[in-house]
């Protein structure tokens, strides 16, 4: 008899647990809004070495960067939804010192070179705004959301007013070499295409932890740079323009949390 009651209690407990799981699953499927915030890093894949025109590919500079993703998804059915993603990121040249040395080395035989630390001058800021369809696969507490996003990239602040001060050795000539990104002539707004996937685990009914992978691809980015040579001895200023056409490919890997709301 005791054993019978024990088995019955165990069965009821399991049934209740299954019902609770189903309710939770239903909630996960029923929730229409999913708001996420993530932070992470950007792994460059191709062609966004922003200083290429100056370094002629002789310096290996990768533009690994940091980003924050803000994401809002709206599910108009149990599985399908639309997602808006806001992804601002900063590309920090991982080898700014080496890049600086490359520029300096071009002049050291003839000039004394005074150079500011280049880190702040060669950082790039890019903001991506993307929208696209997403599909939700729910298994227990896990959710997998593959998506296909399209949108625009806004580029800003690459190689801004980086000046080398050159003083002639055994001579009186002074030159200021300024490296600039010509914002007006460059792509300020460009297309971006991003297949992505978010993996979520619901910790509570409404809170989930996420990990996401975005592959970012910009088909055509035109970057125009200028070097301005101000020669004080001749009182002449010469400007040279460098046009750099590239594609931008990068993988953004991030982690954060989501709120699931009805």
């Amino acid at each position: 008899m005791k054993a019978y009651f024990f088995i019955l209690a165990a069965l009821l407990f399991c049934l209740a647990n299954i019902q609770a799981q189903q309710k939770k699953k239903l909630y996960a499927e029923r929730s229409k809004f999913m708001m996420s915030l993530e932070g992470g890093g950007l792994i460059p894949v191709h062609g966004f070495s922003i200083q290429d025109p100056f370094f002629k590919n002789s310096v290996n500079i990768s533009d690994a960067g940091g980003f924050v993703i803000g994401r809002i998804a709206y599910f108009f059915s149990k599985k399908w939804g639309a997602e808006f993603e806001f992804l601002p990121w900063i590309a920090k040249s991982s080898d700014a010192g080496k890049a600086q040395q490359y520029l300096i080395n071009q002049f050291t035989s003839k000039y004394y070179v005074t150079a500011p630390w280049p880190q702040n001058n060669i950082d790039a800021g890019v903001v991506s705004f993307m929208i696209g369809p997403t599909y939700k696969i729910t298994t227990g507490r896990f959710m997998i959301m593959p998506k296909l996003l399209f949108g625009i990239n806004s580029y800003d602040g690459m190689m801004n007013n980086y000046t080398l001060h050159l003083k002639e050795k055994q001579g009186n000539e002074i030159i200021d070499m300024t490296y600039n990104w010509n914002q007006d002539a460059s792509t300020e707004i460009g297309w971006v295409f991003s297949p992505a996937c978010t993996f979520s685990y619901r910790v509570t009914k409404i809170l989930a932890v996420n990990m996401s992978v975005n592959y970012l691809y910009s088909p055509s980015v035109r970057l125009v740079y200028t070097t301005t040579e101000q020669n004080y001895k001749s009182q002449r200023q010469t400007t040279q323009e460098y046009i750099f056409e590239t594609t931008f490919q990068s993988v953004a890997v991030g982690a954060g949390f989501s709120l699931l709301l009805k």
Binding site: Y112, Q170, E173, I174, Y232, K233
Partner: protein
């Protein structure tokens, strides 16, 4: 009670003086400066920065002149005194700043070559336009400088300029005479030593 009232009345000018000192902050005491002397030295600009040299010879492309104008204090603003009590200044809340002011203004700076410089500039010719201040800004060809003299400390500070020669002499030695004229019409002049150019 009466004693407190008397004390209050006695302290009233002190309080008034403090308030007045606090509410009336002078901009800072002013000192006036004027040029007293001119000093001229030869610069060797072969290194990263120009240095004063006493050497007989320097590189032909590295020549420069250091013009140092020594100043003297010629006037001082009268110190503001509080209306009620001298001691109110002990409690004043204003900072005691001071500003330099110039009685003199450098009107013109001219550089003349004391010996033949090139085929077009024989001894005594004006070569002002051949010199650049700090090697970047040309000296005005007509010599008009129009630069007030300021020293930003209470004590007179020398005013100095590095005049870097941007043209090479055709000869193996050079010597220059610098003439500074101030607003009052007074002229200060000095001639550099003869330097061999290699």
């Amino acid at each position: 009670m009466k004693l407190t009232r008397i004390l209050c009345w006695l302290l009233l000018p002190m309080i008034a003086g403090t308030i007045e000192a606090c509410c009336h902050c002078p901009e800072g005491l002013k000192y006036q400066f004027a040029i007293d002397k001119i000093k001229l030295e030869v610069l060797d600009n072969g290194g990263q920065v120009p240095v004063i040299t006493g050497a007989d010879s320097i590189c032909k492309k590295c020549y420069g002149l250091r013009v140092e104008l020594e100043t003297i204090k010629v006037g001082q603003q009268k110190v503001h005194k509080p209306l009620f009590l001298e001691s109110a200044y002990a409690n004043r809340c204003c900072t005691s700043g001071f500003t330099g002011d110039s009685r003199d203004t450098i009107q013109t700076v001219q550089v003349f070559t004391a010996i033949d410089f090139d085929s077009t500039h024989k001894a005594g010719s004006d070569v002002t336009s051949y010199f650049f201040i700090d090697g970047t800004k040309p000296l005005p060809a007509n010599g008009v400088f129009n630069q007030p003299i300021y020293t930003f400390t209470e004590e007179p500070m020398p005013i100095d300029y590095n005049f870097i020669l941007m043209h090479e002499s055709e000869y193996s030695q050079c010597q220059f005479r610098v003439v500074v004229t101030v607003a009052s019409g007074k002229q200060f002049e000095k001639t550099s030593v003869v330097t061999h150019l290699i």
